[in-house]
């Protein structure tokens, strides 16, 4: 009643104090965490032969969430052989329409248990609940739904070819979109008739393990999908090297991608890599400015900027630089950083101490190399890994913050004068994953898109994903595509040469 009786005047402080968004309405009760998770192997949860477990935490609070089995070399060997047997006996010769129905079941289950998955993802990854709820989980379900539909239509996907599956796919997924990356990998692999071994990232294994539960509930034949967490260097390495693996799909850093590429050399194993990026987000003076601001913000602060296709290099046409940067700073000031479980939070926690250190190091280099930093005032929680949304102006192409992938909420702003200059500067990088173009002129969008060396180009929008839309990079951002009809190809033998 005190609030009602206080007649707020137009005094600034009055308004600001009175207006508060709700805090932490999302309860974690829906998630039934176990103390300890085994490996999901051969259709059941089992103890690791390695005997080892590691702890996974909530990066927003640094609290431990659970112990997770670590797959050792023996476990990897068992998984590979199990997956191979399952392929030969239960999956390879199953009619496509039956495979489809399993995938539809998984899609539906993800929809039914969506809240549980969203909360768990936020707890383990640090991303805001509104993102895991509105983007990660629905897209994951949609990927299973989309690829379910391809399972019995493969003869239409590649003219002149009868596609055949490859065998066992090893799938190594990253920590930035843990569940979604599992869906991006598993759905096409299973739809095309392969079996899979998923090795989720070591800081974020929990939603992959919950997905294993769904797979169990969907009654997939045992061994068709296996989930074996463990450190990338060891578990991932043994997995990629195993003789029973026909195909490897990796999403992660360019550095590790190159290691995998070297290790796979000469083995005949199929490989797709989805690596890092340093996307150019290009804004012309005739852009719909207020919407471009939203696109820029989304481009670099969605998922705390921990996105391979993040719009981390903003190129602003010089003639509109001042009004744009003014608006951008004002908008930055409204971003809410804090408890990821709070529905109103915009920017959550950084996934790990390691990642936070990397971000801090690069930001420091930006300051030292002469760029001008801007960060809004916002209080950060004491525990957990946090970084304020940051932008740099006065950035040169040669600065580390303009060349190296930061993988954090840090935007580097450069300028350009002409479309040709924008294209040149945008392409002047070893990466080529994504790009953004903001202009109201249609012909310019198409002209730019034609010349930009990036696998995904967003015009007047950013960070849009759909299972029907192929995603993947040029150059050192990797090769192979995920999503769409093109996403089937990496999991198929189109030459008729596989000894199936």
């Amino acid at each position: 009643m005190g609030e009602i009786e206080r007649r707020a005047t137009s005094a600034l402080e009055e308004q600001q104090r009175v207006w508060e968004y709700s805090t932490a309405p999302e309860s974690t009760e829906i998630v039934r965490l176990q103390d300890r998770y085994g490996l999901f192997l051969g259709g059941r949860f089992v103890e690791p032969k390695s005997g080892r477990y590691f702890v996974t935490i909530n990066p927003a609070t640094e609290e431990p969430l659970a112990e997770v089995a670590e797959a050792g070399e023996e476990d990897v060997d068992l998984a590979a052989r199990t997956a191979r047997e399952a392929w030969e006996e239960h999956w390879r010769d199953l009619p496509g329409k039956e495979r489809a129905k399993y995938l539809y079941r998984i899609a539906r289950a993800l929809q039914e248990r969506s809240r549980e998955f969203a909360v768990l993802e936020t707890m383990n990854n640090g991303k805001p609940i509104k993102e895991s709820r509105d983007v990660d989980v629905p897209l994951a379900a949609a990927h299973f739904f989309y690829y379910a539909g391809w399972a019995d239509k493969l003869e239409y996907a590649f003219p002149g070819r009868i596609p055949r599956p490859l065998g066992v796919a090893a799938q190594i997924t990253p920590w930035n979109f843990p569940l979604l990356m599992c869906a991006w990998k598993l759905a096409p692999a299973l739809a095309t008739g392969n079996t899979a071994i998923l090795k989720p990232a070591s800081t974020t294994p929990l939603t992959a393990l919950l997905l294993a539960e769904v797979i169990e509930q969907a009654e997939l034949p045992p061994g068709v999908v296996n989930v074996i967490p463990g450190p990338g260097g060891r578990t991932g390495g043994w997995l990629a090297a195993h003789a029973d693996i026909a195909k490897i799909a990796f999403t992660g850093s360019t550095e590790i991608g190159k290691v995998l590429r070297r290790n796979v050399a000469g083995t005949g194993k199929r490989l797709t890599l989805e690596l890092g990026g340093k996307a150019a987000n290009i804004v012309f003076e005739d852009a719909a400015l207020d919407q471009a601001i939203e696109g820029i913000i989304n481009g670099i602060f969605f998922n705390q900027g921990e996105v391979c296709c993040a719009g981390s290099r903003l190129f602003v046409q010089e003639s509109v630089f001042e009004p744009l940067v003014d608006k951008l700073k004002a908008r930055l000031d409204t971003l809410r950083v804090g408890d990821p479980l709070d529905k109103n939070t915009d920017v959550g926690a950084i996934n790990s101490r390691d990642q936070l250190d990397k971000i801090e190091e690069l930001v420091q280099s930006g300051i030292e190399e002469g760029a001008e930093i801007y960060q809004p005032e916002c209080s950060l929680p004491e525990r957990g890994f946090w970084f304020r949304p940051t932008l740099f102006t006065n950035v040169a192409q040669s600065h580390r913050i303009a060349r190296e992938e930061i993988f954090g909420p840090v935007l580097s702003i450069l300028t350009f004068r002409t479309p040709q200059e924008a294209v040149e500067k945008a392409n002047n990088t070893e990466y080529g994953l994504s790009a953004g173009i903001w202009t109201e002129k249609g012909s310019r969008i198409l002209w730019m898109a034609d010349r930009m060396k990036a696998g995904v180009i967003w015009a007047n929008t950013f960070n849009r994903f759909d299972p029907a839309s192929p995603f993947g990079g040029y150059k050192e951002s990797g090769f192979g595509r995920e999503g769409g009809r093109h996403g089937l190809e990496p999991y198929l033998d189109l030459d008729g040469g596989n000894g199936a």
């Binding site: 009643m1 609030e3 009786e5 308004q15 400015l289 696109g295």
Partner: protein, 319 residues
């Protein structure tokens, strides 16, 4: 000197906004990407407010309300009843504030004035061949002058969509400036009728034209053509007002009207205002909601927040 020229003379920043420049003014208004705008509006619409703030928001919704009746059958009795409700929305609860204003047709202005005398409630009148706005210009201006002379505190006029959509921006601007002059010191709201303009680009252009001509408020809708205020249209207007303030230093108010019946909607509009324009607009001086049945819904929500029980309509008087 015409009002338009006076505006031009008095506000250097507005020199660009003189009638002969009206076409250029409209042409240089920023484009609006519909998909991006709608996504932003939807995302803001999903914010949830803390209970204490919700009560403050609902209180503001009442204090910012223009309680409206604009029907052919508005009798003296009807307006007397409306004004009683406006002054004391809940007779059983003295903590409930009065609304900002009542909004009526010109004929009922004297009645309304008599009823709200001695209270803080203002009388707003529609004027200028509301709602289509296509009567002879002199008659429209005379209507504005008349209601102001009678004592109306505020006038709500409509943008001439016939001229605007016909591309006759100079004439459109002149009419608005003339209306501004006719309204004198009364507070003038220009209704854009967003449901008729066809695109957000046009809504933004119309907003700028109206603000440049001296509107105190820009308003979404007449409420008479079936389409109503929408979050994206309001957001578009707010973004225009934000930029107008940055360019000229003048704060123009936003009024949303048409189809706002639920408290939830009112709160969503308040979130939009807060996030786009900031705390300076969170006051009846700069934000209004034109509504009628909304008031009881807000009263019910206030009671629900206080008592924890969902309410029924029988407990709130229908004026």
């Amino acid at each position: 000197m015409s009002k338009a020229a006076e505006i031009e003379r008095n506000a250097p920043g507005l020199a660009l906004h003189a009638p002969r420049e009206a076409s250029r003014l409209v042409a240089r208004v920023a484009s609006v990407d519909a998909v991006g705008l709608e996504e932003r509006a939807a995302s803001l619409g999903r914010r949830s407010i803390k209970r204490g703030s919700k009560l403050w928001a609902l209180d503001l919704a009442i204090r910012a309300m223009d309680l409206t009746t604009l029907e052919g059958v508005d009798t003296t009795g009807r307006v007397v009843s409306l004004c009683a409700k406006a002054v004391r929305p809940d007779p059983t609860d003295p903590t409930i504030p009065p609304v900002a204003a009542v909004c009526v047709y010109p004929q009922l202005v004297p009645v309304a004035l008599g009823q709200v005398e001695g209270t803080t409630v203002k009388v707003a009148s529609v004027a200028g061949s509301f709602p289509a706005g296509l009567g002879p210009l002199e008659a429209r201006l005379a209507e504005i002058r008349t209601v102001v002379e009678q004592g109306a505190h505020e006038v709500d006029i409509v943008l001439n969509r016939s001229l605007f959509l016909g591309g006759r921006y100079a004439a459109c601007f002149e009419e608005l400036a003339a209306a501004r002059e006719a309204a004198g010191d009364a507070h003038m709201k220009v209704i854009l009728e967003v449901g008729e303009l066809g695109s957000y680009d046009r809504i933004r252009q119309a907003s700028v034209l109206a603000m440049a001509a001296g509107a105190d408020f820009i308003k979404t809708s007449t409420g008479k053509i079936g389409s109503s205020a929408t979050l994206p249209a309001a957001l578009c207007m707010m973004e225009a007002a934000r930029d107008f303030f940055r360019e000229t230093g003048r704060r123009v108010g936003i009024k949303v009207a048409g189809g706002i019946r639920a408290s939830k909607q009112a709160v969503q509009y308040l979130v939009l205002v807060y996030e786009t324009l900031g705390p300076e607009w969170m006051t009846p001086e700069r934000f209004r909601i034109g509504a009628s049945s909304l008031l009881n819904d807000v009263l019910m929500q206030i009671n629900k927040e206080r008592t924890g029980r969902y309410q029924g309509p029988d407990y709130f008087t229908i004026d």
